[in-house]
């Protein structure tokens, strides 16, 4: 029997948006001695924003990216959501208003708090902008300070978690 399939089918694997989000989320805890963490969760896709209406595509996959403070009763702050269809890209970000206000309009296709990333590269660039924004830093710093104030030192927080 002849093999009609092309060679190296799995060679150019596209990294899914949620994989990239989870990779980045896992790094925050390491930077804050786990006082502040990031969490990525799948959410129901019964929402349409501007871009979905525009393109008439149903965005079937949605995820939220939250900043989490385990030492503050598992307090969570939703920083943004993403949605995309099974093709993975484009991805629609729905941003925190403070973060959206810092974005330079000409670098990304933006409408209000919604930003469109058409490729993996654009997605990573956008994510970098969000994570390095002043608003994100402010949120993390406030939660880090409150967590350390509450628990005296981070070792006690780690012990209480254990």
């Amino acid at each position: 029997m002849d093999d009609l399939w092309p060679e190296n089918l799995a060679a150019n694997r596209i990294k899914s948006p949620v994989t990239i989000l989870k990779e980045q989320a896992s790094l925050l805890g390491q930077k804050t001695q786990n006082a502040v963490q990031a969490q990525v969760r799948s959410i129901e896709a019964d929402y349409q924003g501007y871009w979905e209406t525009l393109t008439e595509k149903e965005m079937k996959l949605r995820y939220e990216f939250c900043i989490l403070a385990p030492g503050l009763g598992n307090y969570r702050y939703k920083l943004f959501t993403i949605s995309h269809n099974v093709d993975l890209y484009p991805v629609i970000f729905n941003l925190d208003e403070g973060v959206a206000g810092e974005m330079e309009d000409d670098r990304f296709e933006k409408r209000g708090t919604e930003v469109l990333a058409k490729s993996e590269k654009e997605f990573s660039d956008m994510l970098k902008e969000i994570l390095r924004s002043e608003r994100t830093k402010e949120i993390i710093q406030v939660l880090f300070s409150q967590s350390t104030d509450m628990h005296g030192d981070l070792e006690s927080l780690e012990r209480s978690e254990a």
């Binding site: 019964d46 924003g49 307090y75 969570r76 939703k78 208003e97």
Partner: protein, 271 residues
């Protein structure tokens, strides 16, 4: 009994009006949208000798500011985003509740459809917080920028907020095999000339468009069925004065030049 007040201040320093409201109504929890002053300045006005000490129960959400007569440790945030703060109100010897406070996008910037879609997201976030805290004794209050009859407020995957206790008392309704919990929306009672207070709404807007309601009830309190026994309709008011200064113009609409374009709402819960 815990007394709550919500008010969109239109970025005005209405500290003296707030102090009089606190004194007249013995308010325990103050919740503000469009609060633009330094919190410490309001605290200076509030914390004089004849009133109990208030503190600023700060959160990360920038759209809402909360001040309470009790320690802020009893009203800690459990979930927030840029427009919503959900607090766990856990006072000694009282039933604990979730207090969700929001200021949602204006019709100036969002279509009715976008507002409705946003409500489905906010509603999901409240359900998630209820799941995590382990009960649904929740009160949701804020400036919704929508009337009680609009899609985002009434639709199942929005706030699912209905006009009678009886219907809300059924707990939930099922649409397309998905269960959605009800809110009771007592604000329906305030429409028109039979409103229990004089103002037939919280916000007045007149335009030359074909569809014009004139009076709107954008500021609302929604109560989960598990909490309706703690709430009496007589204990919900739209306020038109602080006891001394009227919030209305001589024409009977909110005085947005001297006070705010929104009227405050006051409610009490027996916890």
């Amino acid at each position: 009994m815990v007394t709550f007040l919500f008010w969109n201040l239109k970025k005005r320093p209405l500290h003296k009006n707030i102090r009089r409201l606190v004194s007249v109504h013995e308010i325990d929890v103050l919740m503000f949208a469009e609060f633009s002053a330094e919190p410490v300045l309001l605290l200076k006005t509030l914390n004089r000798k004849d009133t109990s000490e208030f503190c600023h129960a700060s959160g990360i959400c920038r759209k809402i500011e909360i001040f309470t007569r009790f320690s802020k440790k009893f009203i800690s945030p459990v979930y927030e985003n840029d427009r919503l703060t959900i607090r766990h109100l856990n006072l000694q010897d009282m039933t604990d509740i979730l207090l969700a406070v929001g200021h949602f996008p204006s019709k100036t910037y969002q279509s009715d459809m976008s507002q409705a879609f946003e409500c489905s997201e906010l509603s999901r976030e409240i359900r998630q917080a209820e799941h995590e805290i382990g009960h649904s004794r929740t009160v949701m209050v804020g400036d919704f920028n929508m009337n009680p009859f609009e899609d985002g407020i009434v639709s199942a995957n929005g706030f699912n907020a209905v006009m009678t206790r009886d219907i809300a008392g059924r707990g939930f309704r099922t649409v397309q095999n998905r269960k959605y919990p009800f809110f009771y929306n007592p604000m329906w009672n305030f429409f028109g000339d039979a409103s229990p207070g004089r103002p037939p709404g919280t916000y007045y807007h007149s335009s030359s468009e074909h569809r014009n309601f004139f009076w709107n009830i954008f500021d609302q309190v929604l109560i989960r069925p598990d909490l309706t026994d703690s709430f009496s309709n007589e204990e919900l008011k739209i306020l038109e004065s602080d006891g001394k200064t009227s919030f209305m113009t001589p024409y009977g609409i909110p005085d947005d030049r001297a006070v705010s374009d929104h009227l405050p709402i006051l409610f009490r819960l027996r916890l």
